[in-house]
Every structure is written in structure tokens, then in C-alpha cells.
Amino acid sequence: MIGLAFRLELHRSRVIAVGLAIVVLLYGGLIAALYPILLANTAMIEDYMKLFPKEIMAGFGMTGSLADPGIFFTTYIGSFLWPVVAAIAAIVLATRPSAADADRGWADVVLATPLTRSRHLGAGILGQVVVLAALAFVTVGGVLGVGALVGAGFDTGRFLAAGGVLWLFGCGMAGVTSLAAVITLSRGAAAAVTAGLLIAMYLLNIVAQVQPDLAWLGGLSAFRYAGVGALIDRGTVDWVGVGVFAVVAVAGWAASLVLFRRRDLLP
């Protein structure tokens, strides 16, 4: 029965998934197409970048040379495009089975059938996992594909591994959003929680980089763990980051499932 619900979940996700996939594909492809130009003009671009506060640059993951594929990818994708895309996907997908479906009355329709609450929400969570994985793959695939065409020389294996980190980052957001949606049963409130957390963590990461004595605050920010520069450039996996995202995602979803089974469903 969860298979039926899961297939419907994928069907319902097709518009947002395809829309976001086009965005990441076009943007990633464009950025990758520009990489050889950036490589040829590294010195000039780095001089230009010095005009900006380095803390803000660090906030976007620009902690080295843009000529490094890892820094390049983190700067334009990992710390910029992906958090926005993943947040949109998380908000749309993770609020749907609980808050949005309760609000529109669909939850009343399906939850009066033998489909249990856990299976209904579980199908939604599986949908989030799959759609976020597809989006992460398309994001990395677009960069790799166009990179290959323009001779960027990107390491496929490391980029795919970076895609895995992006996926986990998105899952973490989806887990938190899912929990917020189940608690509030309000798509708006859950979206505000996710967007607010994302902005707060972004600022936290900047503050941690600006003030050395507040560097410990950076550990509270997802952006600290979202950088994949070291992974792409040196093959170093940030297992702490991977673990944090995985734990947040699983804990958020698990708590969502428990609470959703126990709470009143009010339209």
C-alpha cells in the first residue's frame, strides 16, 4: 500500500522536480561552461574578488582560489544555488503530506482508507528522498556534463560524492521541515521555520568567520558542513558533516512519523 502512496507522491512531485531540475541544469551548465574562462583569467578574477569582504566570500564558500574545482563548485553551487533549491524542494515536498494535505482535505480522504498515517507520511518522506537525490544528481550531472564538453577536467567520482553531500544537506532540511509541518500543520509556518533557520545558519557561519572568538558558533551552522571544496579538491570527506546531515534528516523524519501518528488532524 505504501508503494501506491509513494507512486502518487512521485506523480504529485513531478512539476516541482522537473522545474527545479531545469533550473539547476541550466545554472550548473552555464557555470561549468564559464569555468575554462575563469581558469584562463584566474589572477584577474582573484584581484577583483579582493574587493569584497572576505567574510562574505567565506560565507559563500570562497575560501581559496576559484580556479580550484572544489572551491568553484562550493562557491557557485554548494553554498549558493543548492541551499535555495533544496529549501524550495524541502518546503514544497516536506509540508505536503501533513500540513498541506490536512489543509486541503486530501488527508481526510486518504486517511479514512486503510492507508495509515505512518504509511501516508512515510510515502511522502520516500518521495522527498528520491526527488532530492534526483535534483542533487542533476545538479552535479549538469556541471559534469557541460564541464566535459568544455574540457574542464572535473573529477567525476569526487563530484558525484559531492552530490551525495548535497543530497544529505537537502535531506536534513527536509527532515526539519517535515517535523515543523507536523507540529504546526501549517505550510506557511513550516516554510518560515526552514527559511528562517537557513538564513540564521548562513549568518551564523559568517559571524563565526568574522569573529575568531565566536568561531565555535560555526559548528551550529549547516553551512559549515555543506562545503564540498575539500572533497572535490583533495578527496577528503567531512564525515562529521555527513553524519550531522544524516542524523538531522533521520531524526526529523522519525519524529515527524511519531508525532503525525499521535496528533489531531485539523483542517
Binding site: 480522504v109 486503510p114 489531531d264 485539523l266
Partner: protein, 316 residues
């Protein structure tokens, strides 16, 4: 008779706001049970508790012997539900939607087809493009297409045209003939009167009356308008349960409570040219209980525009 639904002191508060209070009722297996009340009376709150979508604040409900909150999964295999404004997915067409909901209930593909044909529903149209009435048809098809022993419906015929309302009533009658129990929340009073064996009236969250439709209608007053060939003698209508509301010589307006035989016997002694007897319908009774003012409701009972009026010569 086994009970399909048992409510024992069922109460629900939303913070300090009243949902329903201390509902006590039994719905027998195989009966069609009407649940009457205006918006805000607590009908939907009651149904949401019956479905296990919300918990009660106190009291208990047993549906087909199961607790709707703790045994929801088992219960939902044995009931079908139609909400008052079901939030169907707009981009699915009716066929896909009904196949999906049917599959969740273990029904084969196309189990909905013969019901859709009866209700003249085009299954190929996306739900978002359907009119209110056609969306409601999807709901009616959805609730009847299975074999569940209990059907719970909230305002099921809203938006249906008269022909389709008749078809809906036929489906309810068939369900009853098959021994299925129907719990029908409505403020379509004629529909309740025609479909239901018993009726509960809910007012401001409390049940104020549960009775058979026959008893509910039969126990109440009738309005009798007489046109006489000559004025009635003094005291001609001094009978038990009969009150003369107005008398202008040959036109007499009476209110009769309970047994009408004594009045009919007396009319045989009079020169009656015409008679109109109005029996109260469920709507009158509903307003009686809802308004809570007997005097006010008696005025309603005595209005001449009643749907069930018998015209004819009185016995001589």
C-alpha cells in the same frame, strides 16, 4: 441488535471552544442514521472523531466494536467515508482518483464504473475542471464503490441536482437493503426524512433528540384547516389535543396534537366542504429543536405552506 456506532459521553473541546459535549447515541447495524444540525453544531467534529482523525477530550466511541483512535487501521478497512467538501487532487481525473482510492481499499480497477454510469459522471475530466455537483458525484461514487459495512457521509448530496439526489437516495436504500449501516450527516432535511430510519438532532454541540423519523413526525402537531358549509356549533372542537387557533364562521384553523381520530369522528357531524391537513416534516421538527422554543415552532407547524398536505372531503 448489535450497534455499529456507540457514543458514550463523547466530548470534544478545542481549547475553550466547544466542539461537542456528552454525546450519547447508538447507531444500529443495518440502519440509516441521520445526523442533523446546522453549520457549527458539531456534526463534522463528531465525524472526525468517528474516523479517528481527532481524539475526544472525554468519553468514548466504538465503531464496529473498535476504538476509532487506537484501532484506526482496522476500522478503516471496514468503513467508507465521504467528507462534505473532499479535497481531491485537482490534476487527477476522476477515473485515476477513484482507481487510486479503490486500490487503497483493495478494490479492483474500475470498481467505480457502474456507479459513475448511474450518476452520469464523466471519469475522464480532471477533478479541478469538474463543477461542484460533479465533484460531489465523484465522492458519492467513491463511498459506494466498495463493500464496507459502514458508510459515513458528511453532507453527501450537496450540489447534486434533483435527479442525482434521487439516485443518491436509491444508492442509500440499496446499501441498507444489503445490510450496510449508513451514518448520514446533513442539513438537507427532506433527504434525511426520505433516507433515514432514525434521526439525531444536534444543537450547539449537544444531542437534543434521537428518534425514528416516523415517531418524530407522528408525535407532533398537525395543522388542520377546515372550510365548513355552515358555522360550527359552540364547543364543536372541544376535544382532547385540539386547539382552535382561529374561527371566522365557516373557516376554522385547528391545531391537533397526537391522535386525530376524535377530530375525524367529530368532522362527520359537520358540513365540511374542504379540509387541508398539514403534517410537520423533519424540517419543522429540526427547527423546533434547534430554536428550542416550542411556541415558535408551533407557529411553523401551523403555517399553510407544508410539503405534505392532504386535501379532500372529510368523512360525513
Amino acid at each position: 441488535m448489535p450497534e455499529a456506532i456507540e457514543l458514550r459521553g463523547l466530548t470534544r473541546w478545542y481549547g475553550k471552544r466547544r466542539g461537542v459535549i456528552d454525546l450519547e447515541a447508538d447507531v444500529h447495524e443495518g440502519e440509516v442514521f441521520g445526523f442533523l444540525g446546522p453549520n457549527g453544531a458539531g456534526k463534522t467534529t463528531t465525524i472526525r472523531m468517528l474516523l479517528g482523525l481527532i481524539r475526544s477530550s472525554s468519553g468514548a466511541a466504538r465503531i464496529l466494536g473498535l476504538d476509532p483512535w487506537t484501532d484506526a487501521a482496522a476500522l478503516h478497512r471496514r468503513l467508507a467515508h465521504l467528507g462534505s467538501d473532499p479535497g481531491y487532487l485537482g490534476d487527477m481525473n476522476a477515473a485515476s482518483l477513484l482507481d487510486y482510492l479503490g486500490a487503497l481499499r483493495g478494490l479492483p480497477r474500475g470498481a467505480w464504473r457502474r456507479f459513475a454510469e448511474r450518476l452520469e459522471l464523466d471519469p475522464s475530466v480532471p477533478v479541478r475542471k469538474l463543477s461542484r455537483g460533479n465533484r460531489q458525484k465523484v465522492g458519492v461514487v467513491q463511498v459506494f464503490m466498495g463493500r464496507e459495512p459502514l458508510l459515513v457521509m458528511d453532507e453527501p448530496s450537496t450540489g447534486l441536482d434533483p435527479l442525482m439526489q434521487r439516485e443518491f437516495l436509491a444508492l442509500v436504500a440499496e446499501a441498507r437493503a444489503e445490510g450496510r449501516t449508513v451514518f448520514l450527516s446533513s442539513h438537507n432535511l427532506p433527504e434525511v426524512e426520505r433516507a433515514c430510519d432514525r434521526v439525531a438532532i444536534i444543537r450547539e454541540g449537544r444531542l437534543v433528540k434521537i428518534a425514528t423519523v416516523v415517531a418524530l413526525v407522528g408525535d407532533h402537531t398537525r395543522s388542520v384547516n377546515l372550510v365548513l358549509g355552515s358555522p360550527a356549533p359552540e364547543g364543536a372542537f372541544a376535544l382532547p389535543g385540539v386547539t382552535v387557533l382561529s374561527s371566522t364562521g365557516q373557516d376554522v384553523h385547528l391545531m391537533v396534537r397526537g391522535d386525530v381520530n376524535a377530530l375525524i369522528g367529530r368532522l362527520g357531524d359537520l358540513d365540511v366542504r374542504d379540509i387541508a391537513i398539514s403534517t410537520p416534516d423533519v424540517e419543522d421538527l429540526f427547527f423546533r429543536y434547534y430554536e428550542g422554543t416550542v411556541a415558535g415552532s408551533e407557529k411553523r407547524d401551523l403555517t399553510p405552506e407544508q410539503p405534505e398536505v392532504v386535501h379532500g372531503e372529510a368523512p360525513r
